[in-house]
Symmetry: C2
Subunit: 236 residues, 2 copies
């Protein structure tokens, strides 16, 4: 069902265990079951997935390359804790590439793609009205999947992988700096973008996308949060 799994499966089903572990951990990070800063010990990861440290380590290194975990020499791997500056760069990158992806996707979009995107929106809306942790997590992922699906439709595997990285890291940023309890994306904005595409208003769709990204970013409080483990924690 999810695109990543489908792609790798179609490839050659040549998934080494390390990649499965990597995907599992990434999913956990994106769904915010793992918080930024959480230590990911090689032993613990290995035990959790019943493999040796070798594979756990490989998975962590791969995640490090995606920017989702940071490995510090001789100290271990941690779920990434993006700095405000990194956060800004992530969203700057999204502003830079998503309009272009949207244009490409719109050019190649079939009626089937559109109805599939609409169904994604429906699902997203359904999850929004639901209560509970699992619904919340599914909603987070669904809102990201909208952007990923566009990248997939654009037909450029390289941009697709890049967007996967950006969406995942965005989730981390939102987990860290997001303010409003309402989760990641303004849901209606996704619908507006689709509508604009359907009406062949490509420029408007791109503007909407930029506004959408700006809207997400505006909900962040990107101030340096020093350790906060000092007196400030009690001065309130």
């Amino acid at each position: 069902m999810k695109s990543a799994a489908k792609a790798t499966q179609a490839e050659d089903s040549t998934d080494t265990s390390a990649q499965l572990i990597r995907d599992s951990i990434r999913e956990a990070i994106v769904e915010r079951r793992l918080s930024p800063g959480t230590k990911l010990s090689e032993n613990d990861v290995g035990n959790l997935f019943n493999v040796s440290r070798t594979l756990a380590r490989a998975a962590l290194q791969a995640l490090s390359y995606e920017g989702l975990v940071s490995v510090e020499k001789n100290r271990g791997a941690f779920v990434a804790y993006p700095s405000p500056d990194e956060a800004r760069q992530i969203f700057a990158a999204r502003r830079l590439v998503e309009p272009g992806i949207l244009r490409e996707a719109a050019a190649r979009m079939t009626p089937g793609d559109i109805s599939q995107l609409k169904q994604l929106l429906l699902e997203e809306g359904r999850l929004m009205s639901e209560r509970g942790q699992t619904a919340r997590r599914a909603e987070i992922k669904a809102s990201g999947d909208f952007h990923l699906r566009l990248a997939e439709i654009s037909g450029n595997a390289i941009m697709q992988r890049f967007m996967e990285e950006l969406v995942a890291r965005s989730s981390l940023v939102i987990a860290l700096y997001g303010q409003s309890t309402v989760s990641s994306c303004g849901h209606s904005e996704h619908g507006d973008i689709i509508a604009a595409i359907e009406n062949d208003e490509l420029d408007r769709a791109c503007r909407l996308m930029l506004h959408h990204i700006a809207h997400i970013e505006a909900d962040l409080d990107l101030r340096e949060r020093k350790s906060l483990g000092l007196k400030e924690a009690f001065e309130l």
Copy 2:
């Protein structure tokens, strides 16, 4: 001197050996000392760098993530052999991101940056007029460095890393499908772009960049080259 080394060094000098090996191999690929399809056995790589297979493997996996080598399950790692379709995607991605990077870079560019870029062009021109393998290799790298330097000036580390991947993979594509003996980039076009930036003609600079990329791509012969190890090789 080169940006990658500087960045990692400034970071924390926390370079594990695997990363050094990865960088060495990447450099060899970009400079086309390693041809597409060359087998990179874990044993050979390990022996070459006097490390165990563990580290060699880690380096190869990292390169695989960058798309520079392809690892085939139970068969080994090979210098990537991008298909024509992949090649098109690489250049499509560059057309998509480089104008945006250029805009960002122009907005932040200092006089020092400009003179540094000009110096890069000078060096590039000098190498072009020189003869010999080493000059050719240096020229290839220098022409890529122009694009990388722009990404660096843009101040977005994420886009910078992405461009590093795109430039490296472009080098592979050119090695495979390039026709004209004259190496990768039309040198003068780099100068034109700088000139446009200096004159605050940002739109023109972006157009020039797009033309430049198109120009590189136009020099490719992106036809499927089936194995070619059959009778076709002698039918000529």
